[in-house]
Symmetry: D2
């Protein structure tokens, strides 16, 4: 059934990615705030608007979009109890030694280099902003994959800014020079 001719257009994938995050109540601004918290100490003139732009750029990447779609799908299937045993129980309970959520998120993180990897690890331990909320969410919701996906997007956006900062410095500027 490898029908490689029937392909999904990238615009459709992008739209589905934004829809999935919205359905799980995660906004671009939520992610941008984590980025701002991480990067503002090192980046003179950095605004929340720069962080939003960086998050949007990260969310335009194919690898990131595919990871978001798969991770949120698994969280939602677990919520509906549609996974088979014992995977249903493992994902539902967000078991500490289940690492597929981190592995999936790391795929995108690697594409933004070693700064992204260490930032992702830090966010995994120091749950900042929306990540904290997702981790402690009550009731029936399952966010086993979502917290790592949000950490991954934030880590990628933070790494992008760190590299841009350096380029700006070489040109004698700072983020304050960028609208």
């Amino acid at each position: 059934m490898h029908n490689k001719n029937i392909r999904v257009h990238s615009d459709e994938v992008t739209k589905a990615t934004y829809n999935a995050l919205e359905r799980r109540h995660v906004t671009i601004e939520d992610i941008a705030e984590i980025v701002f918290t991480m990067q503002s100490p090192y980046n003179e003139g950095l605004t929340i608007e720069h962080c939003i732009q960086s998050v949007v750029r990260v969310l335009n990447k194919r690898e990131v979009q595919h990871a978001v779609l798969v991770g949120i799908e698994l969280d939602e299937l677990a919520e509906k109890r549609m996974l088979s045993a014992p995977l249903q129980a493992i994902i539902e309970a967000d078991e500490g030694l289940f690492g597929v959520d981190e592995t999936l998120a790391l795929g995108s993180v690697f594409t933004y280099g070693s700064i992204a990897v260490t930032t992702f690890g830090h966010l995994d331990k120091q749950k900042i902003g929306i990540i904290e909320k997702l981790d402690t969410k009550a009731g029936e919701s399952v966010n086993t994959f979502l917290d790592d996906l949000v950490g991954s997007i934030a880590a990628c956006a933070a790494s992008r800014l760190a590299h841009r900062m350096r380029d700006l410095e070489e040109e004698g500027g700072t983020f304050a020079d960028i609208p």
Copy 2:
């Protein structure tokens, strides 16, 4: 819903992993044959039995078991057309730029070091044995994740053998000395 007390016992996870592979018609011997093809030129005295033992050891690892369970779950859900759009179409068509299958498989591969990573990459291009069959499988079956999982297990088992071979050499032996 982070009920960290209700945990799935590792024996149950191991059993589910073997069941999942059996359900998808992949045997330990199939994977061991790929390992034998890859490693026999470099390992004097290596038998298919050594390869089977190595595959079994790899399949006992938690990270590998979790990856197998998640990947096969996604293939089976895609076969039943139970994924949401556009993910259903992407996984069903095994799109070339969809890389979540490789990312998931690489999580385990990394735990066996750089030899495993290069062997996995090689198997991805030179589809050997059962991997070839999975890739060209006709009809309604979806093996988008399974071919990478099999490649991953084979690459891990091959890397284990390469490291053991070196230990044997230092002791003045070869695989021929092992029953």
Copy 3:
């Protein structure tokens, strides 16, 4: 001695990267030929010129440049027998279980996604073009790191082209439309 104010300008790092490759007798064209061999079956209208452009783009990335500088430095120090024991002997002999050369190269490969990782693994086994020559180089030269660096740059450039190809298709074009 963390004098973070005295920084090396990125133009200087770029220049040093090109000089290092030239000193080791690896040309952009050598690497582009590997890319062309790998990608031309899948990319209608692809020319060696497209491959050269892709290699140049990869070589402009900071992570790639740093890996090239460190790897070639270690090869050259080993040639001059300036490393301490037992590292000198390990690198000189290009030991099969020494994986730091692959690890260093993989750092850049990861930034180009999972296609780059599998392509790198394939090139590690099927030594194509200049990689073959480096691997069998006679005399006193040490290329333990260089062959992996070349494979890494080629794999990154091939992955870039695969992603661009897809973008072109969505716009209804091929590489034949690009000068």
Copy 4:
């Protein structure tokens, strides 16, 4: 010069690894203390002795030993100003966007799974114990690679303990049951 017959025995590589750490004034106890700080909140009955044993096991792995030897070699060469420009200046200044130190360390970290990766990232930001001292070391010493290597060994040892803890729980025990 690929003389694959003259091989360095693994005992010699192990000894050189311990010597290198000693020469750089890093003890097994220093690393074990980081592990204890990270893991004691989650592991009932964990003692510093368990952490020492875990660090020793990590230091016995080939991939870890090779990374330690290469990283410390580069730090020591930089101290002696024996690297070529501009690499000498980049490593000496421990430039923030130089990521080869993290990449080298991550090679070993990956072999201990996703918990090791996130722990490594956390240690990179929250410099604990000896890592803090290495980062702020005065005078002529260069520890650009060493701080990441120490973080890597600690992260691997912590991940080993987390997995062992789970095995103990399944058998109804805790670390308090282990001498």
